[in-house]
Symmetry: D2
Subunit: 404 residues, 4 copies
Amino acid sequence: MDFAVSPKMEKILTKVRTFVREELYPLEPQVLNEGFSSVLPILEEKRAKVRAMGLALPQIEKEHGGMGLSVLEHGLVQAELAKTYTGVYCFNCQAPDAGNMEILIKYGTPEQQERFLKPLLAGKTRSCFSMTEVDYPGSNPTWMGTTAVKDGDDYVINGHKWFTSSYDGAEFAIVMAVTNPDAPKHGRASQIIVPIDTPGFTLVENISCMGHRGEGWDSHAEVRYENVRVPQSNLLGAEGAGFLIAQERLGPGRIHHCMRWVGISERAFELMCEQALTREVAPDRALATQQVVQTWISECRAEINAARLMVLQAADTIDRLGAKEARVEISLIKFFVPNVMMKVLDRAIQLHGGRGITEHTPLATFWRNERASRIYDGPDEVHKMSAGKRILELFRAEMARDQG
Amino acid sequence: MDFAVSPKMEKILTKVRTFVREELYPLEPQVLNEGFSSVLPILEEKRAKVRAMGLALPQIEKEHGGMGLSVLEHGLVQAELAKTYTGVYCFNCQAPDAGNMEILIKYGTPEQQERFLKPLLAGKTRSCFSMTEVDYPGSNPTWMGTTAVKDGDDYVINGHKWFTSSYDGAEFAIVMAVTNPDAPKHGRASQIIVPIDTPGFTLVENISCMGHRGEGWDSHAEVRYENVRVPQSNLLGAEGAGFLIAQERLGPGRIHHCMRWVGISERAFELMCEQALTREVAPDRALATQQVVQTWISECRAEINAARLMVLQAADTIDRLGAKEARVEISLIKFFVPNVMMKVLDRAIQLHGGRGITEHTPLATFWRNERASRIYDGPDEVHKMSAGKRILELFRAEMARDQG
Amino acid sequence: MDFAVSPKMEKILTKVRTFVREELYPLEPQVLNEGFSSVLPILEEKRAKVRAMGLALPQIEKEHGGMGLSVLEHGLVQAELAKTYTGVYCFNCQAPDAGNMEILIKYGTPEQQERFLKPLLAGKTRSCFSMTEVDYPGSNPTWMGTTAVKDGDDYVINGHKWFTSSYDGAEFAIVMAVTNPDAPKHGRASQIIVPIDTPGFTLVENISCMGHRGEGWDSHAEVRYENVRVPQSNLLGAEGAGFLIAQERLGPGRIHHCMRWVGISERAFELMCEQALTREVAPDRALATQQVVQTWISECRAEINAARLMVLQAADTIDRLGAKEARVEISLIKFFVPNVMMKVLDRAIQLHGGRGITEHTPLATFWRNERASRIYDGPDEVHKMSAGKRILELFRAEMARDQG
Amino acid sequence: MDFAVSPKMEKILTKVRTFVREELYPLEPQVLNEGFSSVLPILEEKRAKVRAMGLALPQIEKEHGGMGLSVLEHGLVQAELAKTYTGVYCFNCQAPDAGNMEILIKYGTPEQQERFLKPLLAGKTRSCFSMTEVDYPGSNPTWMGTTAVKDGDDYVINGHKWFTSSYDGAEFAIVMAVTNPDAPKHGRASQIIVPIDTPGFTLVENISCMGHRGEGWDSHAEVRYENVRVPQSNLLGAEGAGFLIAQERLGPGRIHHCMRWVGISERAFELMCEQALTREVAPDRALATQQVVQTWISECRAEINAARLMVLQAADTIDRLGAKEARVEISLIKFFVPNVMMKVLDRAIQLHGGRGITEHTPLATFWRNERASRIYDGPDEVHKMSAGKRILELFRAEMARDQG
């Protein structure tokens, strides 16, 4: 056991940290007040810088042009990038593209990789992932209304989805659709690549979420598939493997999310410390002198440390033993970490008083946008129940072994 | 002791409840998606209806055209109105006007009442209250930078304030300014009426809060006073009594706020129940069958009941013994109730899954807008400490009496 | 609505409060260090005093020699008595006797009342209630292993029970046993009176709970029924009505428990205040000057107020509409109040530091003994689920009515 | 970074785990029902076995006969030993002896080591540490009433202490007393070795804690020093260094405590799993099928993982950089871990229903005895404030550096 960050990673993290502070923090007032899209031209310059520094695509294997970091190492990078809203985008490791890259690398045919993956890695296109349905609970991913029926060489897709995030301006979607309705529950759906401009694939609206419709990468679309026709060669992986691939996508994806939330927590913590040291409650008496403030600082620090260590351990398990062996750990962090983040954000806002609810800091935006963290990729409650069941199964097996 | 609502109030509440559900709930999609101002013309019609039903100005004495309800009775009405964002406005009992009406009735000269109060009661104008300062903590209301200096028959006011809510479109502000800098701490400030169009009184901006600048009634202004000159006859109450009047304004005002938060909690609870009964987690298995959901329903119900009873008891104390005797109780509800509300909102959003963060329900807007409840009119922490000190003082006195 | 305690009750409460402080608090060191039984002789004197003051049996109708208080009024008395461990005993309103008195009054035959009830009311005997079983979950009271089979004029009872509290020294038990195994679930069991000295009715042990076996009234027995034969005339109420009577017994019984827990919370709160005012953290700096302490005082005060109001409202509902209408409220307080108590105890102990875990105050004993409050008479979780279901049913009915 | 336990430690832990389960778990019924002392003769046999296996004194350097484990490694062992009350004792690494061994090794003169340390290491004697005072708050260790005044070659000690744990049957105490009253606050006290049989050193009582006076090792004494005379050669370390040595003793000592609490949490977790899998709530429906139970399992697992990782990281920091650099981390775990433990115990008891409060499992004893964990060695609140201050200081320094 060794809790020290490796010298290699210390070096990378220092570079990333400096870049984020010096190049991206200054963009915040504009992002917070005028929206993500307003800084897009600047971000393309930043992306070029990042590529020039050799820091782009941290999560992608070297042979595909990335940094080739392990899951744990990439987690450490995510936590730095997440401190400001433009971080992951500038390093081209933002959801949903990062996950799509991973499955295209693993399951894409050479043609699919040439057409869809390469421009994505190069940062020339964006993509989306179309799974969640309006009329079916996201918490039960095997129950789905969208279908893809074979007709000649094509699939004909019909369905109604939402939270197809970043649809706006994307080149293609990877859609989950039922291809094998009579198969066992986990073998019914497939993943199919659908170019955005395919006829019948239409935007209902960018959903207004917490007061914002958003636009471009920073948006969540409600979409309809009405007799959307794509060649069967757009099938990603095996037919019926949609759920399996989705799971695989979600495993490390949850590590990324969790480390992003750790990073947001760290940023909120920094802001708390700054506010505590600089805001006075009475002449020459800073907030930092208040016992309640000192108490919050310790409590938040403890919980962020806990969250960080748990995520890194889960990442280490994936790196050493594979995502399947880390199933329980991944579920545990998927509910533990966003709860820590929301609590830290709550405290940070409270410490800022009126300022905390304004756009003078990123806290209010975090508060609005990150509430969703406890819902997507499996709500807290679903992860608690499924990890609980799994832990009890494993314990039963151990009991049987001890007694047998 | 009697926990039953009086027949008189039952009758009023039924009317209010029906009006809110039938006339105001249907406006929600427009309010949530297009903003409060977009429904303003419709709201003026609703206000006329409310006046015609004799339900306007519930908190105002009959001789001033109101319903003449007690603090407790008005609290019950607030809880119904608060279920939707347009409720209090339609009944002309919205902050900050309601509080301004109260102090103008109590402290206004006949001339002030004629010019400022009457149009306010009639719903023809709006007003704002200008206390919180950018550079001084709201939690320490005796420490203030804005000054009003006598010059001839006038006051000349200079200062920098924010969270001067509803400034946009208001007729006048009541401003807190230091008139007696050498007086003891609580006797330095006065309240002065400043018409919005007074030269030198300017808007810096409607502050962006939780992603919205808002407009009209639904906005929070940052303003500057630069040599703003008003006649000394605009002084409200005695010179140096500003803090005292503010306290008086805040006492019942906190009851109103707290019952509003109870109402919001009740609405969120209704939405939870509806969602639990209608959303399925699997074919023919509603959310309501889940133990975790049942547990949340009970926990939320218990906490809302607790909040409601505590507020009503505090209101009853004010009605029977005056606001001063209710000081501790008011502080207790000021932190207890918004925490209940935020927890209920959190649970309600979680139960709605993805829908909970969209504008399909008012929950997301409540989540963003009501976070401020734990900050304004004294943050949780300040109330906890001041009530704690006061309780300990009272206990010490009792101990001394017992032993003496 | 009226939150003021009636003058009649104020007078009674003052007497009770004074008695508890002056006569019973001084017994605490002995009770805490040497056990309840060590003060029994003194308690008999105190009981005589209480009877002489006309304060005994507060919950019992006047025609049976009690004070004839309503459920709400008796609740107020319980909260005073509960401040010290000997309170309820001295007023002869202690569990399980109080509940047994109530059902004997309501369901007992004249012969049963003569033989079992009268000496109980007179404080000459004690009794126990034998429901919970070793091998069946208390949370599912319709699932039970003890049987009573008719044989001639007798019932022959067989079973294995525990938490037959206060068996030690009791005159009789009221036992729940299955008499009608083929009836619907809620109609299988009956309540039967079993004199303690009936052959075959034996003590396995006074169970060691939280480190104590206890003795006399303050004990929890594990017992066996082996061919225990009692005349059928010992049946209490109708055959098969056991569950129903138990429910009835539990309704107001839960109010008593809850108000007892409110009383314990109040005592812990008093101790906190005393400690805060008298213990110094540094020369001339009492604990009371610490922000964290002030914060706790406020938080505890708020939660105790909440608990108290909720219990009184539930009591009021029982008084006005009957226990059935108060079902939801009773479940809500059954989990809400003991959680408040345990939190207040936790804080009170923490504030006392090392002293808090010693027998220098009653806090440590409360901590050990009252943990069970969240388990008996239905664990938190069972009440949360059952109240949740019931609330959702009622909401569904209301929705149907609104739409129909 | 590497989260895998080393093969060396895996091997040791397996041995320890097996020994604890097979040799010590079976002693629990007797320990819980008849007290620690009742198994003492058996424990001496177990100690011999442990020594024979080479597992005794895990925390002590090899040259002194121990296993020579690092702080982290010893932490892992503690977590296994703590699963049952006799664990640490059998491995001779129980408080307060373990801490006393450490400071005797570091500061003891050869004579002191010969006389006091050697028999302690050999398990032939026991010792106690006499710091906490009745009339001074343990949270402020520099404020102390006990004095040691030089007289001839002796110190003459006067004072009144409590929580001199394990005094009963000990060979000697190490006492903290003020020797230099005029020195700066942290330099006033010294540590002095006082044989138990020194005249004037008397037991007031074994304090009754949570219902038990205890005896032998398992006891907490209140003691008086009345003109207790010991030679000045009994001074441990330098005069005035008492506070410093105490701090040093507490650093790794807190790791041991924290890992012990992790171990207790793990045991409670095991018991929860067992109970969930074996107890039925209805015929053929185990508790494990309940969503609430699954949820608790996950939540407890997550929090125990968090606690464990945080302690191990702090241990690793001590091993790599020394205790001083780990100050913040040690404070964070000192409040975080016992809170996790108490929450897990609470859940475990709740899951066991009535059984949870009996001596059928060790849970009730843990509940009573371990509540003190949040008080001794610095109460939660003190650690939160001191770590908060320190974190803010470090942040201020970093801010200054960034800006400078």
